[in-house]
Symmetry: C2
Subunit: 377 residues, 2 copies
């Protein structure tokens, strides 16, 4: 029997850190008020013990599942969230929050700076993954949830999962970091940096002051194109495009001759319509500075009953599996209860969005076991 | 005894295809006059049987070895070319020609269009690797060389080697394609395309008409930065930079915090001073359209006594070793005399410029054997 989906959902908003009670950021500066856009699926039980926080990736948003009124496509992880799915909304209360620094409803560089009445632009303070997670804790507290059943996410979402472990280990029962790393390698930093350079090379970027004017769409499109190459694998590109030529060879000498070129241009152009260039800069910097290597993952000590499911994908060369194995080694060294699974996918980094069956099998069972074990106590 | 180098060298020039005898290009258009910048090292013997053609990579030039008057650094493959070296100039006559379409002395988009008296810019016809090799054949004929002892080159140079085999199999005795492919994969095309998009996104590019004005330096720098990431390996970046921060954290929020960022910016900025943006477009397109798969490598038939040494590098993910293995499979299927060697390097694609000892061992012996075997006949 095919389970029904979640149906129509609406974003919700939570505003806090009202002046003079701004939130202190890791950089030492203060930010406030802060608005978080978030969505919830399923019902919070009476004990508030069934909440799962889904952390989105770099360009994601709070719309993880269900449909917005009038939309044709569901949220970005609808395949894993819903009745009977991996994150079963008949059992769990699932929550997804847009990261601050982004541009999908939560406070970010395109938001109005209360001190000037204009968009923050580059006056927005430098953010870290720790800051992003701190705002999520505010929301969890606001909802009266003492302990999350789970924090789960891929890529930048996986970094948030690890940051929860580092900062609020007492506030979660299990953690599922997917296709992520304790820290970016120089190669990952390099790809991010080239994307930032592409944005900043666009004269329309104008030192970040483009709101209400022409946006740096060409630079941002190039940045996104670079990203898309790194999200796919050599093999998945081969399977999707091979060397097929586009239908009509354009008159222009440097038009898109190959399908892969047309695809990248399309994805680049599309991204520009839905993403803020300054958010691109802030969020990639947050990822590049993220570093929970050394003793930092366990800086708050004792996680004796915290459980981990670490997932990586064989063809992911942006977050290669050796980085997930490093996480697992770190966990094992601290005698944590950790399971590692490397999924044999050809999709590259995108696999965390696409390998639904494998992820469902792993995540569903892991959550059920954790939930029932803790219910028994 | 440490062998002396080549010493001071000077570029030479050969101009041909004077109107009305322009050279026909693969696209059907005619180009002329064509000037080739080239350099030679060592002496051509009386039988003209000791000539080795070195084909350079995408951003290379004819200055492969020795020193230009007043220069501190030698040519780009000086470690392999010279007395006693892999391409031993005491025995062989070594020749390197700047590819047309480039910007290092040979005719390219920055050259003067005789029809207008202005730089060609985008009026320069679309080029192929076959066209580039055809100009080299003109020069070889001009020098009276009937048969090259060898054509050798890495990356785009390797494509030229393969193109020689396809177009002029009777004009060479052995071929050494290094870190190259029979055709670009969609991923390779994608990286090239993003570089082109970065160049064309720069308003200074101005549809290619920037000569004598501001050059599209920001776009070209971004393109080069992408290139540099693909030339190195994850591991070689880790060894070179790790996550070391730069000495001074700049005031600017999106300055180069990590050494790898500073390095990429430096390499990008430097490239802009020595490379023409339109050449970037023309040469990357030539590589993307290159395709000697299927039966095309042996379209001219019988290479019974042509010898091959195919070299790849383990950590090269831009031209992965499976592409070199495809070349070898193709050669073996045609019963060609082919040796394959995969060098265990961590340098990534750059290895073909850096793995001097391994390459020397392989190439020196292979050349000596080929040379002496053919001398005996």
């Amino acid at each position: 029997m095919k389970s029904k989906g979640i149906g129509t959902v609406r974003p919700q908003y939570f505003t806090f850190a009202q002046p003079p009670h701004e939130m202190k950021l890791e950089c030492g500066k203060y930010l406030g008020p802060i608005t978080l856009a978030y969505e919830t699926y399923g019902e919070l039980n009476a004990e508030k013990s069934n909440a799962i926080l889904v952390a989105h990736a770099f360009s994601g948003d709070a719309h993880a599942a269900g449909y917005h009124e009038g939309d044709k496509n569901p949220g970005w992880w609808d395949s894993l969230i819903g009745p009977g799915k991996a994150l079963d909304t008949q059992k769990y209360f699932v929550l997804c929050v847009n990261a601050i620094g982004g541009c999908k409803g939560s406070t970010g560089p395109s938001s109005t700076n209360p001190k000037t009445g204009k968009p923050y632009a580059l006056d927005f303070p430098i953010l870290t993954v720790e800051d992003i997670v701190k705002t999520q804790k505010y929301l969890i507290d606001h909802l009266g949830i003492k302990k999350l059943l789970c924090v789960i996410g891929g890529s930048m979402g996986g970094m948030q999962v690890l940051q929860w472990v580092a900062t609020y280990p007492e506030s979660l029962r299990c953690a599922i970091p997917i296709a992520t790393a304790l820290k970016h390698s120089p190669q990952q930093i390099a790809f991010d940096e080239v994307g930032r350079q592409a944005v900043m090379a666009d004269p329309a970027w104008n030192e970040g002051n483009y709101y209400g004017k022409n946006i740096p769409e060409k630079g941002l499109a190039v940045a996104r194109m670079i990203g898309h190459i790194t999200y796919m694998s050599d093999k998945s590109m081969e399977e999707k495009f091979s060397r097929r030529l586009k239908d009509k060879s354009p008159d222009f000498k440097f038009g898109a001759d190959f399908e892969v070129e047309g695809y990248l241009r399309y994805r680049g152009d599309n991204f520009v319509k839905r993403f803020d260039a300054n958010s691109y800069l802030y969020l990639t910097k947050a990822m590049d500075h993220f570093d929970l290597s050394g003793d930092r993952l366990f800086s708050k000590g004792g996680q004796s009953d915290l459980r981990f499911l670490v997932i990586a994908f064989k063809s992911d060369w942006l977050y290669p599996s050796y980085q997930s194995q490093e996480i697992v080694r770190k966990l094992k060294t601290h005698h944590a209860d950790a399971t590692y699974c490397e999924i044999n996918s050809t999709y590259g980094h995108d696999a965390f969005l696409l390998e639904v069956d494998e992820e469902t099998r792993l995540v569903k069972h892991f959550l059920q076991k954790t939930y029932s074990d803790f219910q028994k106590r």
